[in-house]
Symmetry: C2
Subunit: 330 residues, 2 copies
């Protein structure tokens, strides 16, 4: 069917292929008249430079990689939204890499490099410190800039965009204390994500400052299992408030509490993190820390474009604002 290449354009416009290339990449170097003629032919033929050939020749693929452990999380989808919108704006393509449970990370990282992305976004918080370090190393060695999005990593030189989860959790706990609650639990996860550790930290700090005893309960991320955990542990405990590190945990706990004849928030106040749809749809509606997930994606992506273009960076650690959305559960 005769693929339209740079040669066909050059031929039809009566110029060399170098000129066609220049029209596309350095239009200011081409005489207006020539440029317009070439542009017209490009338009007529519907020519688009082959991204692969261009990538090989220019050593830039205009593609960013996104690495995420678990794509199925709803927050990931939301983050993709932000990433994608900015990527379109800056004309970057997106290559998606996932890291299932028992993957060989070394192989995965090599694949990412071999796929020749110009930059990489690491989403979320499921690689451990060592793995993140290896990833950063191999990327650095290959000149691929990385931005951590919603990943906590202590090295002050590593670019990242995140939330101050410790502060958020501190504030939420304070709010409960100010409402007269004393027996406040935090419902965290068994698998310790850095993010959830920070939430535990902020909670603990607020409790201790108030002379209250911090009580951490760790459950599975899986809502279908939560219920039994709750029942097994809380049936003989007394409490008057609980913070879920995720909305789904909080809602799940709220249901448990109500089924046991207690009122929310009068007997037990509950709050969550993330401000997902669950929070609005729960009854009573759930007070939750709003995490600007879309923005986490968008800002990280914008940050990455700057790194890829060697633009100057104000601050390597970007913290986005959270805020408490008060609803009926607290």
């Amino acid at each position: 069917m005769g693929k339209v290449t740079i040669y066909s354009v050059a031929l039809a416009a009566g110029v060399s292929l170098a000129t066609v290339s220049r029209v596309l990449n350095h239009p200011e170097k081409v005489k207006t008249e020539t440029r317009e003629r070439v542009l017209k032919v490009i338009e007529e033929l519907g020519y688009r430079p082959d991204a692969i050939a261009r990538g090989l020749a220019s050593r830039k693929t205009t593609t960013v990689g996104i690495l995420v452990s678990d794509v199925t999380r709803a927050s990931v989808a939301e983050m993709f939204g932000g990433i994608s919108d900015i990527a379109i704006q800056y004309k970057y393509a997106i290559k998606l890499f996932t890291a299932p449970e028992n993957i060989d990370y070394d192989e995965l990282f090599k694949t990412i490099i071999a796929e020749r992305v110009d930059g990489l976004l690491l989403l979320n918080d499921e690689l451990d410190h060592q793995q993140v370090k290896e990833l950063l190393d191999i990327c650095e060695k290959n000149g691929v800039p990385v931005v951590l999005a919603n990943v906590l990593f202590d090295d002050p030189k590593v670019p990242s965009v995140s939330i101050d989860y410790e502060k958020a959790s501190y504030e939420l706990t304070r709010l409960m204390i100010e409402n007269g609650k004393k027996e406040i639990y935090i419902l965290s996860t068994v698998r310790t994500y850095n993010v959830n550790e920070k939430k535990e930290l902020g909670y603990t700090k607020a409790m201790e400052e108030a002379g209250l005893e911090p009580k951490i309960f760790r459950t599975s991320g899986d809502t279908s299992v939560n219920r039994k955990h709750f029942d097994g542990y809380f049936h003989d405990k007394h409490l008057d408030a609980a913070i879920g590190v995720r909305d789904s945990i909080a809602v799940s706990f709220m249901n448990y509490v109500r089924e046991n004849g207690k009122r929310v928030p009068e007997d037990v106040a509950v709050a969550g993190f993330q401000n997902t749809k669950y929070a609005t749809l729960a009854s009573p509606s759930l007070t939750s820390i709003d995490i600007p997930v879309y923005d986490l994606g968008a800002v990280s992506m914008r940050f990455l474009t700057k790194l890829m273009n060697n633009e100057s960076i104000d601050d390597v650690k970007v913290i986005l604002n959270h805020y408490i959305v008060r609803r009926k559960s607290l």
Copy 2:
């Protein structure tokens, strides 16, 4: 830092680069001894062929495109899970394309072609018939196979993987009727997705067969707006059951109903589609049609690999099974 290329490997192994390439692509053509020597060097040097160069030379990028209008939907995330797992298995990379509201589709389609994917998965249901057709045309012209995943499209020759939504909706409506419900509404969306049209169709069929009057109410997809719509429309209506075309709509309606002093399911039975987390976390828990979203992704991707490898196909239209998950709301 001296990038490891096929030349470095050839040099170190004392063979030509053609042989190195063969070891990787047609190992049976290389003498065992030579092959092992080369493999050892590859291992030692940590060589990985550059995907871009390989793509250009071989005319295959081993990359599939995924086109989706709205990435932020939770069901999309779940589908990515299935796609990604199969893609890893078959060693395909994934390029993600999104189509925001007012995008120039022609440009987008050209971009997808220019990005040189070996195959394309179209997810979900937000392009209209004409747009899908144009996409299929341009892909066909460029030899890029396409599989529609959860997209309804009538042409019997176009490969697709989906659910029989009409049947699912019919069954759900029947169930309500058998439970003695008579004033049954379907809560659909203002923007008419093909998928939701099918749900309306199945519902209408069941109602008419039973001599009942079908009542379609269309609301926004946005849960924060739903509430007002419901109030404005239903405050003076009588009904004893409702089907939400999405779980979120169903839950939202359930909340509305309960706040108006009615009991679910005794006064008003409610059911939804998709069987998301919302369904479990709602109170009462929501009866919902389970859509195997992960499988939709996985099966589509597997299907696409077959097309890309010219394997024989049993049936171009694949329908996955749905089933009703009974909970307390119906």
